[in-house]
Amino acid sequence: MQTAQLDRVFGALADPTRRAILARLTAGEASVTDLVAPFRLSQPTISKHLKVLEGAGLVSRGRDAQFRPVRLEGAALAPAAQWLGDYAKFWGESFDRLDAYVQDLKRKERRHGAVKKRQR
């Protein structure tokens, strides 16, 4: 796994506008003009976001010199999704074990408490 690539993907996803652009592109490719309309942002701002997404490999631009349609490259999300899945699993399993462990602690404390009372 190339760390720098994963960094770029998570960096690109950390911005709400960029996530919204990706969500819009799940419906199909779009021109920059199409993308500017719903966001109430300037074209240069949208273009800047697109550069970040492109750098992360999350979108590609068509060849058509005039429109250069923006297309989602969903496969680039797979390593990020995989990483998050692994992370969730790591902690999910830890917290299952914690559940069993605190029940154990609880029982031990109760027993200990009972012994103390008897000794008094």
Binding site: A81, W83, K89, W91, G92, E93, L98
Partner: protein, 157 residues
């Protein structure tokens, strides 16, 4: 200490769990070496090294050993805050240039004997993620990054 960027810029990853135990016991399970060693990490990856100086500014270090029998790269950091019912610490692998993340655990009482544990991770850098990937766990989503989740699901790559 300002360990990372603002929340809106860098959304935390959140896992929440309800436990049938008082907050005091859960806090203890995180705060004491002999306890945390018993539950930390996935099944099959026991904690085989654990050093902790549990006080604000104190350091902690851990390593796990996987099924291959080789001890994994140690990781650890500093306890940043520990008021009642909350522990904040940072974490990173002990390799040059590794990114760091800040983890916050809160223990919220639901009633006298029940606790909601909320665990959130603020990622400093994705380098950490790559390190975890190297451990070879498999898929299993349960993320608090809802937007990313939705996106990933809608793409179903």
């Amino acid at each position: 200490m300002a360990p990372s960027k603002s929340d809106s810029d860098n959304p935390p990853f959140v896992i929440s769990r309800d436990y049938d135990a008082p907050p005091r016991l859960l806090f203890k399970a995180f705060a004491e070496r002999q306890h945390i060693m018993k539950w930390f990490g996935p099944v099959g990856w026991p904690v085989t090294m654990c050093e902790m100086d549990f006080r604000t500014g104190g350091r902690w270090r851990m390593a796990m050993t996987g099924p291959s029998g080789v001890q994994n790269t140690p990781f650890g950091g500093t306890y940043l805050e520990m008021p009642d019912r909350k522990i904040v610490f940072d974490n990173g692998f002990e390799v040059p240039g590794a990114g760091r993340m800040v983890m916050t655990v809160t223990f919220e009482p639901l009633d006298a004997n029940r606790t909601r544990l909320v665990f959130s991770t603020q990622f400093g850098s994705a380098e950490m993620r790559a390190e975890h990937l190297g451990m070879g766990f498999e898929q299993g989503l349960g993320s608090g990054l809802e937007q990313l989740d939705d996106l990933v699901r809608s793409l179903a790559v």
